[in-house]
């Protein structure tokens, strides 16, 4: 339970972090809150030769609003986001499910997106809201839509030498309604199934986490109340539910139908 040896660099600014990432290539890892990476290093699931600590980069510390979006840079912790007074209603519902008080105090929003755990709440929210990931390498900047960013289980569109500078989440509009719920073994554990919903007029959008390797997205232009059970049943069977240590595929489908109904009712009432 002790990590393999690594060099450590505390980056003072983003260009230093990006140069070091560029020079070390795939052998380097960004260290943010360490709430996922620490466990992977201690269990030797990851053995990078260099850790680049980005948490002292002042320019990445503050949330801002820009062009109708909330911009959350890489050093913002989950707790700092949760404490925001005018927090996006979906994030206000989903963030308390992300780990524990103790892990949110250090874990970052961007770190959760970069880690891309299939059960994680923040990737699910980013996908539902059509957020964007702002990526930087030493020479280039690019922006990737949430739907294209998550590529597989803990696999993202990030290439060697790149880091997430910020994520952008569109601000909630007045005619939008949101709901979130999940089932896990205990509060704060990773979800077995998590579901988030958004309604805007007649359009209903649902994302499901914990089942496929990446957040699954479904959208209905209209969905009559009478058709909801069938729609949810189709959804449950269309996803790649599998048996594992935590739950059977059948239980996961059952959760999708039930949690799906709960969030749809909440955004429709």
């Amino acid at each position: 339970m002790k990590p393999a040896p690594f060099d450590y660099l505390r980056a003072d600014d983003i260009s230093a972090a990006l140069s070091a990432l560029h020079d070390a290539g795939e052998d380097a890892r960004v260290l943010a809150g360490g709430q996922s990476l620490g466990a992977m290093l201690n269990m030797r699931l990851a053995k990078p030769s260099l850790l680049i600590d980005i948490m002292h980069i002042e320019a990445l510390g503050a949330i801002r609003e820009e062009k109708a979006a909330l911009v959350i840079p890489a050093c913002v912790t989950q707790e700092a986001l949760l404490r925001r007074s005018d927090l996006h209603p979906l994030l206000a519902k989903a963030l308390p499910w992300t780990g524990h008080v103790q892990t949110r105090a250090r874990g970052t929003v961007c770190g959760s997106i970069a880690h891309a755990d299939p059960s994680a709440e923040l990737p699910l929210c980013l996908a539902l809201l059509g957020g964007e990931v702002s990526i930087r390498s030493r020479r280039k900047r690019r922006t990737v839509q949430a739907a294209d960013f998550f590529r597989g289980m803990m696999l993202t569109d990030l290439r060697p030498g790149e880091m997430i500078e910020a994520v952008r989440i569109p601000l909630a509009r007045k005619n939008q309604r949101f709901a979130f719920t999940e089932i896990g073994r205990r509060h704060g554990d990773f979800a077995i199934v998590a579901v988030a919903a958004m309604r805007e007029g007649d359009t209903l959008r649902l994302t499901v986490g914990g089942v496929n390797d990446t957040p699954a997205i479904r959208e209905w232009a209209t969905l009559d109340t009478a058709d909801i059970p069938d729609a949810l049943n189709d959804l449950a069977w269309s996803l790649d539910a599998r048996d594992d240590l935590h739950a059977t595929a059948r239980y996961r489908r059952d959760l999708m139908r039930n949690l799906g109904r709960i969030v749809i009712e909440e955004v429709s009432s």
Binding site: P5, Y8, R10, A16, G38, A39, G99
Partner: protein, 169 residues
Amino acid sequence: MTTLAATETHTVRVRLNGRAVEGRATPRMLLTDFLRHELHATGTHVGCEHGVCGACTIRIDGALARSCLAYAVQVDGATIETVESLAPERGRLSVLQTAFQRHHALQCGFCTAGILMSLDTLLGAEPDAGEDRIREVLAGHLCRCTGYQPIIRAALDAAARLREGDADA
């Protein structure tokens, strides 16, 4: 800004429970091991070493943290508080610690150091915290022998006494 080499030890300076102290660490040294083996502050316990059990919970720069998910070199220059900081003086316990004693909120005590740090932080920030909040904060800890009810009773009792300004409970 220099890279700290994996194979060498580096000086790490922290303010630990109000005192400026320093020790040596290779980059891979866990903060838990640094506290216990280098600084000889053995109040912080180590259970799982992957963030799940909460035994190692401390405060870094005022915020709660799992010390097994941090490396010593990360906290160079930081202010650290551990369970040793809670008692106001030698031979006297804090209101929260006394409540733990009164309500038998510990048996083996393995989980206790971390739980005390979490609850101390909660009651400091939210004096009016009720049972729901206490349960939410406790969810970040595993206790394998006491059971959580006495811990919750102790926390509620401490909260009430602290609100009444009972510093000497």
